[in-house]
Amino acid sequence: MDYDSQVRQRFLSAHRAGPLNDGAAGLVSGEAEDRTLNVWVRFQLRMRHGAIRTVRYNVYGCPHTVAAAEWTAEWLEGRPAGALDELSMRHCLEVLGVPVEKLGKLLLLEDALAACRRRPDERQD
């Protein structure tokens, strides 16, 4: 498999990986898994003043999935909460040069983020 340098770099650094477990307020999280696709992902978002302040993720997946999680975290950080609705994995696919056969895996990231939105304990303080 030949990976775009965009993928390679994000997969290798994975700067925003790891849980947010500082116990502070404003934390929402959501996860998704698909055994057939062999992917699991969890996002944690710290919201403050209606904006996405910090994003962290854990992921079990192929390099494209890992890189897409990193890109997603990167993209969301600093944006208003509404950005969650604007995020497009098709856009991510294009930017990172991910082969289209892997779109299914990437869409699972959208599912995990949707789960974040649905959280009843979501607090915006």
């Binding site: 498999m1 290798l12 994975a14 055994r35 992921v59 079990y60 997946g61």
Partner: protein, 389 residues
């Protein structure tokens, strides 16, 4: 990541030994033998002699008479010739073929092609270590069984089948045996004429010879239908101009490939690698722990995707052990047949060592694999159990 590349994919193909290259270049060059070995003039006859010398070298290495060795383009073609050619030539004897689910795609797909033509195929049982017992083979034999095709050394796991014992049962029941020995040469000894084996597939490029040349061993008296027609080469069994330089390289490679000399060194490297990798928690070795060729190590790293591990340690060339031609890798049919879940199969790498593998390469690989498995497992912290089971 500026470490020089480390090649641990000798089971996919080996670099060509410099002595083999030298022999090939000598053959190709101005003082070489570049005429058509089928031509009746003097340069043609000299080329023919080179071909026959190489045939003798190969025959010696596999314990066979030269006239049992026919050149093909590689083991894929030899496997096809064995299966299609034997079943076609023996239609009057029956239409039943036995093979296993652990075979190379060349055998499995040839078997499917036969099924599409109305032949019947049975698959033998094997144990969780990927070993096929002679009893399991015998249990499949029917009155209309013509051929059993069981590989000698498995290309994914390195498991070595007791082909001589399997052959005994075939003999007793009057059934022919084909053994895919593509991975065997230079690693484990072959004594084809002495063993109860009727056909065997060989290839040069797994043993420091060139890609694109192989052979089929056909025991004297065994009748095979050709796949390709047109010309008298190889007794009419495999027409087409003989590629002298390729055959010379194949011969030289076999001359050099003495398992008695090479295997202990390969086993040492492989054991050093396994010692290092097994220190990583929870990894598992696939295939029988001792009944194996010394060059292959098939390791599952639960909780880590092999594709990711491969990219993380990209200076090391290893195989994900699955059909790697497609962009979305499928789980290896061999590992699946051995009972691994899709997730575990996708968490598996095949390491294969060879003539040029050094201790310090092994040590680098171990260190890097330890670090990256830890990193990727950390990345996947919190993942559900199925990802590691």
């Amino acid at each position: 990541m500026t470490h020089p590349e480390i090649y641990l994919d000798y089971a996919a193909t080996t670099p060509v030994d410099p002595r083999v290259i030298e022999a090939m270049v000598e053959c190709l060059g101005p003082e070489g033998d570049s005429a058509n070995p089928s031509s009746s003039h003097a340069p043609g006859r000299r080329a023919r002699e080179r071909v026959e010398e190489a045939r003798a070298q190969i025959a010696r290495r596999v314990g066979a008479a030269p006239e049992t060795i026919r050149f093909t383009s590689g083991a894929t073609e030899s496997d096809n010739l064995a299966l299609l050619g034997i079943m076609e030539a023996n239609r009057h004897r029956g239409r039943h073929l036995i093979t296993s689910r652990l075979e190379h795609k060349a055998v499995l797909d040839a078997a499917s092609a036969l099924q599409a033509q109305g032949f019947e195929v049975s698959f033998t049982e094997h144990d969780a270590d990927g070993v096929i017992s002679p009893d399991a083979v015998e249990a499949c034999i029917r009155d209309d069984t013509v051929l059993v095709s069981i590989m000698h050394v498995n290309n994914e796991t390195g498991v070595l089948q007791d082909i001589a014992a399997i052959g005994e049962r075939c003999r007793q029941r009057g059934v022919l045996l084909h053994a895919d020995a593509a991975q065997s040469t230079g690693k484990v000894p072959l004594q084809l004429d002495d063993w109860p084996v009727d056909l065997a597939s060989l290839t040069a490029h797994k043993t420091y010879g060139p890609m694109g040349i192989g052979a089929i061993y056909i025991r004297k008296g065994v009748n095979v239908q050709p796949l390709i027609h047109g010309g008298e080469q190889e007794g009419g069994l495999r027409p087409g101009t003989l590629a002298t330089h390729q055959i010379v390289g194949f011969g030289e490679a076999m001359e050099l490939a003495d398992p008695d000399l090479e295997s202990p060194r390969l086993a040492e490297r492989r054991d050093r690698l396994w010692n290092g990798l097994s220190a990583i928690g929870g990894v598992r070795l696939n295939g029988h722990p001792t009944q194996r060729s010394p060059h292959v190590l098939n390791v599952t790293f639960p909780g880590v995707q092999a594709e990711s591990l491969q990219l993380a340690v990209s200076e090391v060339a290893v195989s994900t052990g699955s059909a790697c031609n497609s962009d979305v890798p499928e789980p290896s049919h061999v590992l699946s047949a051995m009972g691994l879940s899709d997730a575990l199969a996708a968490a598996t790498l095949r390491f294969s060592v060879g003539r040029f593998t050094t201790e310090s390469e092994i040590d680098h690989v171990v260190e890097r694999m330890q670090a990256e498995v830890a990193r990727l497992r950390n990345l996947a912290r919190g993942a559900p159990d199925w990802t590691a089971a």
